[in-house]
């Protein structure tokens, strides 16, 4: 079976998300679609799966042009999809989710869940998936939820399986497992469309690679291409992937955290008894799968968490229980995890966003009024210094791309006197060029003698930047290890396996 796309074009208003895309996927191959965030990969696949209607172009299966108007049409044509953002109903069981939309009834009003259960167990056994058909989806870890989506596609006999950024939520070991299963399916004759922006995985699993940039197919590559070649095709210019850094010049202890526990308002501990310290000129990177207490730990240090126990000191001065403002002004630069929600006010201008923290201090304020002149001057200066690509500093922050939004946050946070940089997922969702910029800035801060606490779920980033690595699992620091620890070992730690 083969899937062929011809001239697929999709516009969202003025934006052309897909521009005359041609693509052919054959059975028995893993076809990787590589592209930066926003390149249009999900849009293309949502069109194939019937979730979006193309403005132009045709989809054909085995040389027959099909009209796919809904996921049911897609499934009927043998196309299954695992979404980037899972489409499962949390309060339903696995089996219920799988029959959804295909409810077969035994008699009036009675669902035939029995058959679904048997099928789930069969597929689950074949791929070592270990999925319980009667478990509630909300109780399952994301890795298992993803398997549920794969099972659903397989049960409906998908001959083409689309996986949209499937590894974003997985540990390195889970990723390996997934790649193995993909290969197994390929060998059984399934065509797999594998969407990702991670070069390592593409080179490991793909048989063919198609690269999309700004909605257009810009080329194909063979899996033997180097990471640098793939990256520069993706970005459209040469990029260096290696983070260049010298050996750290360590100073005295800057941040010291002792027995820190953070609870939510119900009293459940999200961070458990964590102790560590960071020296001047050192990057401590906290690795871990998303949702293991990293966000809460970062927030506790800057005063955004209310229920904390334990000690936090910066240069010997207490930070536990102080206000956010006090924490920031005692020398912390904070890059929050979600720049849209926590980092920026989208409706405010760029220049206003640049003074969110300092708006009531000189030179921006004389106590009661804000100096428009000082705000504008600062805007022009920072936009130039951090190379923020905007038409004017007076434009709303919402008009910026992700990378430039992050630059605004960096520019603001690094303009105060800084002793410690706390950066939560600072490159999530950024394009390669912006990632380079952020990494360089973080290293520059470290080299000028500041302590850096970096939280990242991307192992490449952790390994590239860290001077020491802490691994966080279920709220605990399960280990603090040297920067040259192997990926395998880090992966095991991230999955909670202690040495």
């Amino acid at each position: 079976m083969s899937l062929e796309l011809r001239g697929i074009t999709k516009r969202f208003g003025a934006l052309t998300a897909n521009d005359a895309i041609d693509l052919k996927v054959e059975s028995g191959e893993i076809h990787a679609i590589l592209g930066e965030n926003g390149a249009g990969k999900s849009t293309l696949m949502n069109i194939v799966y019937g979730l979006l209607a193309p403005d132009e172009g045709t989809i054909s299966v085995d040389n027959k042009v099909l009209k796919i108007e809904s996921p049911l049409d897609a499934l009927a044509a043998g196309i299954g999809m695992v979404h980037q953002h899972f489409m499962l109903i949390p309060v339903f069981t696995v089996a219920e989710n799988i029959v959804l939309g295909h409810e077969k009834v035994k008699g009036p009003g009675f669902l035939d869940l029995e058959r679904a259960r048997r099928e789930i167990l069969r597929v689950s056994a074949e791929f070592n998936f270990d999925v319980d058909p009667d478990a509630l989806v909300e109780d399952l870890p994301v890795g298992i939820q993803q398997r549920v989506e794969i099972i659903r596609a397989l049960i409906y006999d998908a001959k083409v399986l689309i996986l949209d950024e499937p590894t974003a939520v997985l540990t390195p070991q889970e990723t390996d497992e997934l790649l193995r299963n993909m290969k197994k399916l390929r060998d059984q004759g399934t065509a797999i469309v594998f969407i990702t922006h991670k070069l390592r995985e593409v080179r490991e699993a793909a048989d063919k690679i198609t690269i999309i940039r700004r909605g257009k197919v810009v080329g194909t590559a063979s899996p033997t291409a180097s990471q640098e070649e793939l990256a520069s095709l993706m970005v459209g210019r040469p990029v260096s992937l290696d983070v260049e850094k010298n050996a750290p010049k360590l100073g005295g202890i800057a941040l010291d955290v002792r027995n820190l526990t953070v609870r939510d308002y119900t009293g459940r501990a999200l961070v458990k008894n964590v102790s560590f310290s960071i020296s001047d000129g050192e990057i401590l990177a906290v690795a871990g799968v998303q949702g293991n207490g990293q966000s809460e730990l970062a927030e506790a240090i800057v005063g955004l968490q209310e229920h904390i126990e334990g000690e936090i000191t910066l240069d010997g001065k207490n930070l536990a229980g102080v206000s956010v403002r006090k924490a920031l002004h005692s020398g912390i630069a904070f890059i929050p995890e979600s720049r849209e929600e926590d980092g920026l006010i989208s409706s405010f201008s760029i220049e206003e966003n640049l003074i969110l923290d300092l708006h009531d201090l000189p030179p921006f304020s004389n106590g009661s009024a804000i100096s428009q002149v000082a705000v504008a001057e600062n805007g022009v200066k920072r936009v130039a210094e951090f190379d923020i690509r905007a038409l004017s500093p007076k434009d709303p922050a919402s008009s910026l791309s992700g990378g430039n939004k992050q630059k605004v946050v960096l520019a603001r946070e690094l303009s105060r006197p800084v002793r410690l940089v706390v950066a939560s997922q600072p490159t999530r969702g950024l394009d390669v060029g912006s990632i380079e910029f952020v990494h360089e800035r973080i290293i520059a801060e470290r080299d000028s003698g500041r302590a850096v606490l970096l939280f990242s779920t991307e192992l490449d980033e952790v390994v590239g930047l860290a001077d020491r690595i802490a691994v966080m699992y279920r709220g605990e620091f399960i280990a603090i290890v040297p920067a040259d620890t192997s990926r395998e070992e880090l992966g095991l730690l991230m999955a909670g396996v202690k040495r």
């Binding site: 403002r325 926590d342 006010i345 969110l356 009531d360 804000i370």
Partner: protein, 385 residues
């Protein structure tokens, strides 16, 4: 200029459509029009003449009435004076709602705050004997303090306990109304020789000067209201405090992350919002009514929500919207008195304006507009705001 035009396009078109739809309603609810069912042409003519005369009465009651012009051009402007008298408190309550909204709060409590302000101003006005100017100032300050505390209480509750301001302000509206009713039955407030709930008139020394002689109710309160609008504009767009308000209103999480205290912003904005509504009450008592009754509040506090919505929560927009509503209110009385169209049609016009602004799709579809700036739909933010 084009930008401004772009901004006011939607409210103005909404008004036009609302007037048109209400015109149909006026005409076709009239039995005389319906009686002509068999004869479409004369039916349309009759409809036009009925709607026309209703709107003409509305105009005469709100802006200029030639029949009153026997003493000269200015005599005919009597209705305009009435419009401004009604608009003045509405500007202030409208500003109260608009300011809170910019800070992310839905202040439904302008009505209660208005009443509390009116009580404070009235008490100082009839109790103390102070020199002119000073007396009015003292009464105004009393109103601002009382209503500021009344509003600030809501902000404090929200900041401390998370109690939703919509619920608290609705409840406090009742508290203010019934408190007023009770006060008017106490010795301190009951006017000598009267049994009905009316307080003594405020002393001459505390009254706001009339601007066009004793025949017109137009008083200096309009200047206070316009000054307040300018002050709110400055507060929001130029001051440090206003920056905090807007930041918290636009994205409370990001503000908190940048070290801005959401709790303080919430409390302060409700103090100022309450004070503005209370100032409305003071101005109305000291300028127009002079004596406190249980009906002092009218619907100034409730119309304020619509006014702020129509004015897109900006100070200038709020002033214009308040003037429009004042005109509809003042003109509605004349319309009811001189034609067979009831006052309620004014409420329908107001409701339709709001409806069309809250659902801009309708207006866009009618006029085939593209890219009209919708601004923030106040109404849709409601509960989560």
């Amino acid at each position: 200029m084009r930008k401004i035009l772009q901004k006011i396009k939607l409210p103005i078109l909404a008004l036009v459509v609302a007037l048109f739809v209400s015109g149909l309603l006026i005409a076709f609810s009239d039995p005389k029009v319906l009686a002509l069912k068999g004869d479409p042409l004369s039916m349309i003519a009759k409809a036009l003449s009925i709607a026309g005369s209703a709107y003409w009465a509305l105009f005469r009651g709100s802006i200029y009435d030639p029949q009153l012009a026997d003493t000269g051009f200015f005599g005919g402007l009597y209705p305009l004076s009435e419009t401004i008298v009604v608009s003045t408190p509405l500007i202030l309550t409208g500003l109260a709602v608009a300011l809170a909204f910019k800070a992310g709060l839905f202040n439904i409590g302008a009505q209660g705050q208005f009443i509390v302000g009116a009580i404070g101003a009235s008490y100082v006005g009839f109790t103390f004997e102070l020199p002119i100017v000073l007396h009015a100032l003292a009464a105004i300050v009393a109103a601002i303090v009382c209503a500021g505390l009344y509003g600030g209480f809501v902000g404090l509750l929200k900041a401390r306990t998370g109690a939703h301001e919509v619920i608290v302000t609705i409840m406090l509206n009742y508290v203010a109304s019934y408190f007023l009713l009770w006060l008017l039955s106490t010795k301190a407030f009951l006017r000598e020789g009267r049994m009905d709930p009316i307080a003594p008139e405020v002393l001459e020394s505390s009254r706001l000067p009339r601007l066009a002689g004793q025949d017109y109710r137009l008083h200096a309160g309009i200047f206070i209201a316009l000054l307040a609008a300018a002050a709110v504009w400055w507060l929001l767009n130029r001051s440090t405090l206003g920056f905090k308000f807007r930041a918290v209103g636009a994205n409370a999480k990001a503000s908190r992350t940048a070290g801005i205290s959401v709790a303080k912003s919430t409390t302060f904005v409700m103090v100022i919002s309450g004070a503005l509504a209370g100032l409305g009450g003071a101005v109305h008592i000291l300028g127009a009514d002079h004596a406190l009754t249980n009906e002092v509040g009218g619907s100034f506090g409730f119309d304020a929500i619509t006014v702020a919505l129509l004015g897109r929560a900006t100070p200038l927009g709020t002033v214009l919207a308040a003037l429009l509503f004042g005109a509809l209110r003042a003109g509605g009385l004349t319309m009811q008195a001189t034609t067979e169209t009831p006052l309620d049609i004014v409420l329908i016009i107001q409701a339709l304006v709001v409806l069309f602004i809250a659902a801009p799709a309708v207006i866009k579809a009618i006029f085939r507009l593209k890219n009209v700036e919708e601004g923030q739909a106040i109404g849709s933010k409601g509960w989560n705001g």
